[in-house]
Subunit: 399 residues, 2 copies
């Protein structure tokens, strides 16, 4: 009488959770400042002061009904308008508010997008390494997730494998660039090749293949990195965005869907999102957060620390002999473990109070993820631990 | 390639929306203050000043990461603890934080509760008149909604009809007291009878039947009305609560699930809610709103205006010859239309700038809903319009 499918999910021990639990216990002994916690992707930089100022202005305004009342099911019109204008201005596109649906973060956006363009049994293709939550997002929408193996030299798209998997059952392709967990940004070349391949397949199959582009890390791109705006290259693009990382608002559940105005079904899809909401208990993202975000729509938190941390870690780890694609953005990097079994590797790292996440659940065994959204001074202090860990393996090789 | 089920939902013309659209157009001509809009259940009283003060304190605190960061998937622990303590204190119960899941309003709570205790094809029984959104909430969870016809003399439970419908396929019963749209509160006698009947059926069928109690109007109960706390009477109760109405925060999407500690599966159900979230794009209710609500957990907005409005309208309408069960709470009342076709009746009411909602979609044709969450002075000004409308029908009878 209890839904077994969810009960079963509870039984699956999460490696990430085990590591986090170990970290909490260890912190009690040696202090949290001495646990080098690279496990969680929680933004570490403060929200911009301007956001706080606007939030306070709204909270203390004379019309609390308007501030805290229901928003329309597609989002507050003025907010949708500001999102559309910002996207159009920044990426030279033609978004209007009719192309925007306000969502509860990228998770909410993906839940809506997947339900809009797939029905039961349809296939959705994504690329390893991928955010493990894609599995429940896709499966619980009724579709089936197919995963293209990773191209581990640069973590761009493995087209040879991809092409084999695109059958007429595929209704959507789900990408995440800049990527969690690899930190890699798909190049213009990759996106162009992907777009032209998908358009060819659309013609061949006689139906649309939607490109669902999950972009919570869009604003965290490092210097001189080629980071194309995906929708520019493919009409049937549904962009899923979150302000979680760009404004350090992960807990406030605010993001949006933007459907490329070039997509014939754009307005229909947006309106359908309002209907999809009715079944999943989403009414709207919090009203006051919608309004506050719209006031700082072109701002970001000071994200520079992420590139600083990346540079320190990338240099040190490659020096120590780790293989690692250089991140172009995000606050993740994705080195190869020093032994085949990344779970064993990450367990050994705990000896030096390094909390690393094995990438098996990201569809890429043998690698591990580091979330370096932690203070730079802590990153620096952690280097000794990495040296000790690497030395362990060198000694082992010699013996 | 577009999900037809949601596309179709778009095609269904909503009577409420038509009425609201008429109202907006009419407001342009005669001013919104002259349109007597009883169509929408948007709380009209301001949030308590204490809530605003706490919200501002949180927003300007020195730890923005802790305020705006991800909350755990079951909700912030300290918030769950405060909810549990408040419920236990107020209703003499034994809730602990392990029995509480923080949800995005009552809609989010219901979406989770339904998925936790039903699987595809199970039946959920509710009672007319009922909130129309129950249909997508239940159907999109995979279960099937069955509706017990209304007991129109007092809008308590129609047990004769209910008993016929409780087959072994029924895994949950969904009630809403105080009720939208009738305004009626289920009496202790009703709840006791319901509880004892369900316990008898649980024994007969050999499986639990969960009582999902949707309680967004719990704090809006009028003087001397018998308003029992449902869970007190039935162990397998899942209470779905929202702060939308009690604190006038409808847009901020904050509420909770509380599973009766007497329910054997209580903690399991709460933990499952964390898994259910993964498929529907809910991560948590907004962090800062969770924290702010917890600080004013035992407060409500000044809700007295709703009883004032109810009394004025109830007296006038019954004087004019309307049949109406006296509301015991909420900000709704539910009179019988003056002709059989409530849609035609509500259309005629528009002539006098009265926006009323025919109750066909609430499963109770021939009645109409009035949401009197509007200023009292406007309620008073609307009485002339009701008199004119009633007179229309009197003249018709005579002719």
């Amino acid at each position: 009488m209890i839904a077994e499918e969810y009960k079963k999910m509870l039984g699956q021990k999460s490696v990430i959770r085990e590591i986090a639990e170990y970290g909490s216990e260890r912190a009690k002994d040696i202090g949290y400042e001495n646990v080098f916690d690279y496990s969680l992707g929680n933004p570490s930089v403060p929200v911009p002061q301007e956001f706080t100022t606007k939030l306070v202005e709204l909270a203390t305004s004379s019309e609390p009904g308007a501030i805290h009342g229901y928003s329309p099911s597609l989002g507050i019109e003025s907010v949708r308008e500001k999102v559309a204008q910002s996207l159009s201005r920044r990426f030279d596109m033609n978004y209007k508010k009719e192309h925007i649906f306000m969502a509860s973060g990228a998770a909410g956006a993906l839940a809506h997008a997947l339900r809009a363009v797939t029905t039961k049994g349809d296939e959705v293709v994504t690329f390893a390494p991928f955010f493990p939550e894609y599995t429940p997002y896709v499966n619980k929408s009724g579709a089936i997730l197919r995963v293209v193996p990773a191209k581990t030299d640069d973590f761009q798209i493995n087209f040879a494998e991809f092409e084999k998997m695109v059958t007429p059952k595929v209704m959507a392709v789900l990408i995440n660039t800049p990527n969690n967990p690899s930190g890699v940004v798909y190049s213009t070349e990759t996106i162009k090749k992907l777009a032209s391949f998908l358009q060819e397949k659309e013609r061949e199959f006689g139906h649309e293949i939607f490109l669902i582009s999950d972009e919570p890390y869009r604003e965290i791109v490092f210097e001189n990195v080629d980071a194309p705006f995906v929708a520019k290259y493919y009409p049937n693009t549904i962009t899923c965005y979150s302000f979680s990382k760009s404004l350090s608002l992960a807990g406030e559940r605010i993001g949006y869907i933007a459907v490329n105005p070039e997509c014939k079904e754009a307005e229909l899809i947006i309106n359908m999102c309002g209907q999809i909401s009715r079944g999943i208990g989403h009414n709207c993202p919090p009203s006051i957060i919608q309004l506050a975000v719209a006031e700082v729509i072109d701002m970001t938190a000071d994200l520079s620390v992420y590139e600083t941390n990346m540079t320190i870690l990338y240099n040190e780890l490659t020096n120590l002999g780790f293989t690692c694609a250089k991140p172009g953005g995000t606050f993740y990097m994705f080195p190869k473990a020093l032994e085949e079994d990344a779970v064993a590797f990450c367990k050994r790292a705990l000896k030096y109070d390094l909390l690393l996440v094995p990438a098996d659940s990201f569809g890429c065994p043998g690698y591990f993820r580091m979330a370096y959204c932690i203070p730079t001074e802590k990153v620096k202090r952690s280097l000794v631990a990495f040296r000790k860990l690497a030395k362990d393996y060198q000694l082992e090789c010699k013996s």
